[in-house]
Symmetry: C2
DNA sequence: TCTATATTTTGATATTTCTGGAATCATGGA
DNA sequence: TCCATGATTCCAGAAATATCAAAATATAGA
């Protein structure tokens, strides 16, 4: 049952538009952004935007809140943290100390845009 | 270009069989497991197994190595760490200190099987 | 109510991904 | 060589996803 939740989240993020949306919302923080702003920023037709926002919501990765005529969306950080925990669960049989240093270790120095660039991906 | 890499990794993990494979390999550590053992453990037909292992390899999430007649697969932890960094990059506009405490924070207490269960997913 | 704005839902088509049996390839041992 | 084992590739049908124009819905203000 838990893995279904994880698969929904991973599948939701595994798409160009939705990944862009999610990363925008991570940057925006708890305040989030209006649908219209997101559509404009990413250049996505309104119907497509709704489709993808809905996908992210069903996956529990973002939340919706109304402010007048605008609908704001914000990232749900707890879900992401839970997802990462699920993926690395029981790493090295639960004995990460028996593994090489870089294995089972959390990412470092990745809060400012250095992640997944050439040096870490090769 | 970077986001294509992330999408490949996320899409690879967003599938029941592949997620099961990856999590098995995370537990197995750097030594990895033989294809046959994986097939038997998950009850997947050989052709399907190859298909999915290949997907994970193309996504850079696992590596292959031969030992006699057996092919061993092992998780590539650096790629996972880079992926997590990419997803949480520039969180709260790069000022996580201005956000509530649980936002932008790395997952905690998730090395032993507690992640993505009811208390963290709600 | 009427109109304008913001967003979602519908629906039909196009594209991609998944599945697993059969054939093929690679290795090690007799 | 020949055979057995371990694993991959090929293939075609089945299933799931993506796209976006058009219609529908929700809200605010005159």
């Amino acid at each position: 049952m838990e893995s279904k939740i994880a698969i929904a989240a991973l599948g939701a993020l595994a798409h160009d538009t939705r990944l862009g949306l999610y990363r925008l919302l991570v940057q925006a923080g708890p305040e989030g952004m209006a649908a219209g702003t997101l559509a404009e920023t990413l250049g996505v037709p309104p119907s497509s935007l709704s489709f993808h926002l809905n996908d992210l919501m069903h996956a529990g990765l973002i939340e919706q809140r109304r402010a007048g005529r605008h609908l704001f969306y914000a990232a749900d950080f707890a879900r992401m943290n839970a997802l990462v925990g699920f993926l690395t669960e029981n790493c090295c049989g639960g004995r990460p100390d028996l593994c090489p240093p870089t294995v089972c270790a959390p990412a470092k120095g990745t809060k400012n845009g250095k992640a997944l660039s050439r040096e870490s991906v090769g």
